[in-house]
């Protein structure tokens, strides 16, 4: 297509995304299950969508300072690796699979979990921790990633994300 004046200006949809919200519930603590939520949150923020992440149950590992650097990937119970399940139970296999996956993630230029959270917060994303999970695991805000805004109840999260589209991971 050839354009002279007037210039075709892309519709960046600033009005359309105004008021659009996305809520993502992260309930898993495996390395491979941490990424879908982070990638979608990052994509939504880049599209101008207000984004809230709620970390609950095993998803708490993603924001717990002592664990967030050390999420693991296991072949056990995951038929999509197309390897014999018995292999996944051998000593050292989870460490090896984790190492391999971290390398693959790094190779495509995607950051590790703490750095990804940092980018999400820098992009305007909101991080919330689940009250019940904190109580069950005897953790408080000092144990959590600094940019987590607060430990809130499920009802609080539902209230904060009124009208949002929701993803449960």
């Amino acid at each position: 297509m050839t354009t002279t004046m007037p210039l075709t200006v892309p519709n960046f949809g600033d009005e359309a995304t105004e008021g659009r919200k996305l809520a993502i519930i992260c309930s898993k603590g495996n390395l491979d299950m941490a990424y879908p939520g982070l990638i979608l949150a990052n994509a939504a923020l880049g599209e101008g969508v207000e984004t809230h992440l709620f970390f609950t149950f095993w998803g708490f590992d993603m924001i717990t300072k002592s664990r967030m650097h050390d999420l693991k990937f296991t072949m056990l119970g995951n038929t999509a690796t197309h390897m014999p399940q018995g292999l996944g139970g051998l000593p050292g296999m989870t460490a090896m699979a984790t190492h391999q996956m971290k390398k693959q993630i790094q190779d495509v230029g995607v950051p590790d979990v703490p750095e990804f959270l940092e980018q999400i917060v820098a992009s305007g994303g909101h991080l919330w921790a689940c009250r019940m999970s904190a109580d069950m695991m005897h953790l408080d805000e000092s144990d959590l990633y600094d940019d987590v805004e607060a430990i809130i109840s499920a009802a609080d999260f539902i209230e904060k994300t009124e009208g949002a589209q929701l993803l449960f991971i």
Partner: protein, 101 residues
């Protein structure tokens, strides 16, 4: 009213399709069209995108701009509000980034 005297090639959305048709003057006009007045900080991002594209083969994502050009993500959102990656690409005369992160 700004006027572009040269013909430029764009896709249906208005993104330039010919790398070499882009000029500094055009960038100023493209930016103005989406309500952005280019500052030195904007130019730093745009220059990086322009230089990175031919070698990398695709438009840099926000993360790539922030890590390689050293411009914090937060600042990119301030400079190109709403959809920074797409707006930057548009002003730099490049296709929309296709990377996920």
């Amino acid at each position: 009213m700004t006027t572009i005297h040269r013909e430029i090639h764009t896709d249906a959305e208005g993104f330039l399709t010919e790398y070499d048709e882009w000029t500094d003057d055009l960038a100023v006009q493209l930016a103005a069209g989406i309500g952005i007045e280019l500052s030195d900080e904007h130019w730093k991002a745009i220059r990086f995108l322009r230089e990175d594209y031919p070698t990398h083969g695709e438009t840099a994502t926000l993360r790539r701009v922030s890590t390689l050009a050293g411009i914090p993500v937060k600042q990119l959102f301030a400079l190109f509000p709403g959809k920074p990656a797409k707006k930057m690409a548009y002003v730099a005369g490049l296709p929309k980034p296709r990377g996920c992160v």
